[in-house]
């Protein structure tokens, strides 16, 4: 987001701008801390069911964030992220169920395994562009439930794996749903921070350059093969970690949980939220969780028609997604108070 006013800034005003005695950076920190405190306090004012729903929203947000890295920033379309979500979920489930690993300790291995799987999948994917890659990943999404049934000594086949419910640490005095909400919230904050650091730096610029013009990117000295594979790996790392969290929160994995529709939902959530944004992932998570239910409430007979209509409306009214479209407005409003600051920095092409 390049703003015209930015071109007139004299260097010395940038660092020295103070508002009510504090720098813009300090204000940002304060705003962020207040926001986090509010979100962390949220479950204590809601029923357990709504806490569970919001936990799922955050899990989907992490998965969509993963897809945004690949599809939004790097331009590789994946219709198969449900498969990586399943891989993460089953890694966590098998570790917990077979080897008695505590739930929190399953996240790093699940993320790592999905990173490796993503890199392995990303290597042949280098040969596929655009719709061809979409087709290859679609094939993977279709194969996922059947593969899970085939390796039934590990996956429990059709009946899946039942997981013991995580126990919140004694002494905190909070119930399981609220504890898991906080665990997932921490995971989401870490994921967003890591993604922001990566995407707003050298790596992110390389991703975007490859998306916008691969030949020019290569001519600038970017190792396109390496960065595309890296994009695939980090993307599946996030989505796999989300899958592991979902397995822990739901307490059950089975092949039916990871149908092709899950992969499509991720792409829909990503597009609705804002495909090359970080904050858009949260909007995407909200969409995945709530819109099918709302559609069902509107019409029992044709929930998917309503769902489709909602998608069309979003795409027509906000073609760059909710955050992609509203972000600049918010930035403009923010700049009235604090010139030269932006809240939403996205990698979308202007």
């Amino acid at each position: 987001m390049m703003d015209k006013s930015a071109t007139f800034i004299a260097p010395e005003t940038l660092a020295g701008d103070r508002y009510a005695g504090l720098t813009a950076g300090a204000w940002q920190w304060i705003a962020a801390l207040i926001a986090i405190a509010l979100v962390a306090a949220l479950p204590f004012g809601l029923s357990k069911y709504h806490v569970f729903e919001l936990t799922m929203v955050m899990i989907y947000a992490i998965a969509v964030l993963g897809l945004n890295i690949l599809t939004g920033y790097n331009g590789q379309i994946s219709l198969g992220h449900g498969g990586f979500f399943a891989a993460g979920a089953y890694t966590a489930a098998i570790l917990m169920h077979r080897y008695g690993v505590p739930y929190w300790a399953t996240l790093p291995p699940a993320a790592l395994i999905c990173f490796v799987l993503g890199v392995l999948f990303g290597l042949p994917a280098l040969r596929f562009e655009g719709p061809y890659l979409a087709l290859v990943t679609l094939a993977m999404a279709l194969a996922t439930p059947q593969l899970l049934k085939y390796f039934d000594t590990w996956t429990g086949g059709q009946q899946g794996i039942n997981l013991a419910k995580p126990v919140p640490p004694a002494g905190l005095g909070i119930d399981r749903d609220r504890w898991l909400y906080l665990v997932v919230l921490v995971a989401l904050l870490i994921a967003m921070r890591v993604a922001a650091n990566m995407l707003h730096g050298r790596t992110g610029r390389a991703f975007v350059a490859i998306r916008d013009h691969p030949i020019a990117a290569a001519a600038m000295g970017i190792n396109t093969a390496r960065y595309k594979t890296l994009a695939f790996g980090t993307s599946t790392l996030f989505t796999g970690a989300a899958g592991a969290l979902a397995a822990i929160v739901i307490g059950y994995v089975s092949p039916e949980s990871y149908s092709i529709f899950l992969s499509v939902s991720f792409l829909v959530g990503s597009a609705v939220g804002g495909i090359a944004t970080i904050g858009g992932a949260i909007v995407g998570g909200l969409f995945i969780q709530f819109v099918p239910n709302l559609a069902n409430d509107v019409s029992d007979a044709a929930p998917w028609a309503i769902y489709g209509l909602a998608m069309l409306l979003f795409m027509y009214l906000m073609p760059r997604g909710v955050v992609g479209s509203l972000g600049p407005w918010i930035n403009r409003a923010l700049q009235r108070i604090m010139p030269h600051q932006t809240a939403f920095d996205d990698g979308a092409k202007e």
Binding site: S47, Y49, G157, Q159, S254, E256, S257, D300, P303
Partner: protein, 406 residues
């Protein structure tokens, strides 16, 4: 002082008695129950890969609509809340939590599917919410030691296989058996049930087993291999498509074993006719409900009641649809349990009544087949009747066979 104490004691005693009388008059209610309403929760795949089962959900809704028109159960209307889970277990968990925590239903009834019900079983048992008459034929719903709040309904796959085994032991004592099964829990339940039913003769009698994957194009090589074993009995535990392929191949290679089909793959229209009706003559299977297309029932008052309900309440249903018979019968089972509860509609009492049903007769079950449960018997229907295909339709024959026990 003493008088004061006596008075106090007397007053508190009176209070207790009053409270007791009031409670008895108002009935004892669990969540979701009032003097005018009982809330029942359900999940059903109205969309997605399992949507073929949705006619069961519509039948349940239609049956409760009729009950409500007739004045409800002991004056209480059924508020049946059926939610779509798309046959996706995470969605089932979410919808069931909504039903229990937000809608505050008294119990879960006939939620459909094996993985979907496994996903919610732990949650419902932890919270002591009855999971009544699960819509799945898996063997695992009869497990009161681990899951006292979960109970099945239909004969399980294993029950059916044991019924076949008993028939074989009685009528074909020198049989050698080959089994073709789908390589998942559904197929394996049959194989396991067959072996259990044969008991110590299983190893001698079962001479060959072959599995297939639902992704296989045919089962030709499996059938040829099974024929090569020299078996004279073939049990096919397969979904409709592969049952059709198996019947045709057995006939085409000139093999003439006594064939058993699992009851989910006996549809005349979608299995027997596509295989070639003449190729299926003499094949055996088992049933527990009346086939709505069978002319022998169509003049009975039970069938006519069912038909008039179909015409008045289940208008979107198909009168040839066996699922409409299934939904009708399961709903009747729940109504019987709720009637037995009287005004004591707590979750504990509902569960108590659900596991003490004695020989409940339902109009659309085959004559003689009844529903019975007990504290250590969570398998309501254990009996079936054998049936034989005559080239046109299935004819039930013989006595009622029980498949209960190991």
């Amino acid at each position: 002082m003493a008088a004061q104490r006596a008075l106090n004691t007397g007053l508190s005693a009176l209070g207790f008695i009053l409270a007791g009388v009031l409670a008895a008059a108002a009935g004892q209610y669990g969540p979701g129950v009032s003097d005018t309403e009982i809330k029942i929760g359900n999940t059903m795949p109205y969309s997605g890969p399992g949507s073929g089962y949705s006619s069961i959900g519509k039948s349940l809704t239609a049956y409760f609509a009729m009950i409500n028109d007739q004045g409800g159960i002991n004056g209480r209307k059924i508020n049946f809340i059926s939610r779509d889970d798309s046959y996706s277990p995470p969605k089932t968990v979410e919808q069931v939590r909504k039903l229990v925590e937000e809608d505050q239903v008294l119990l879960l009834f006939q939620s459909l599917g094996t993985p979907t019900n496994i996903a919610i079983r732990g949650y419902l048992n932890d919270n002591k919410v009855p999971q009544l008459f699960v819509g799945s034929g898996a063997d695992q719903w009869n497990d009161p030691a681990h899951y006292p709040w979960t109970i099945g309904w239909q004969p399980s796959y294993g029950t059916e296989a044991r019924i076949f085994a008993r028939y074989v032991l009685k009528n074909l004592p020198n049989a050698t058996i080959a089994v073709l099964y789908q390589n998942d829990d559904f197929g394996k339940d049959y194989l396991k049930g067959m072996r259990a039913g044969l008991g110590d003769k299983a190893n001698k009698m079962v001479v060959a087993t072959k599995s297939y994957e639902t992704t296989d194009p045919t089962v030709d090589s499996q059938i040829v291999a099974l024929q090569g074993s020299g078996a004279n009995v073939l049990l096919t535990a397969a979904i409709p498509k592969f049952t059709t392929l198996a019947i045709r191949k057995v006939y085409d290679i000139g093999w003439h074993p006594t064939q058993f089909l699992n009851s989910v793959s006996t549809s005349v229209g979608s299995v027997m006719k596509p295989a070639g009706a003449e190729k299926g003559v003499g094949i055996l299977s088992a049933a527990y409900t009346k086939d709505p297309t069978d002319p022998q029932w169509q003049n009975t008052p039970e069938y006519k009641d069912w038909l008039s309900w179909m015409k008045k309440y289940n208008t979107s249903g198909n009168v040839a649809d066996a699922f409409a018979v299934y939904g009708y019968s399961t709903a009747q089972t729940l109504v019987a349990v709720l009637k037995a509860c009287g005004d004591n509609l707590t979750r504990e009492n509902v569960m108590r009544e659900a596991v003490q049903i004695h020989d409940l007769k339902l109009p659309m079950l085959l004559p003689g087949i009844t529903i019975s449960t007990g504290a250590d018997d969570y398998a309501p229907i254990k009996q079936m009747k054998l049936q034989k295909f005559d080239g046109r339709t299935w004819k039930v024959f013989g006595d009622i066979v029980s498949g209960s026990g190991g």
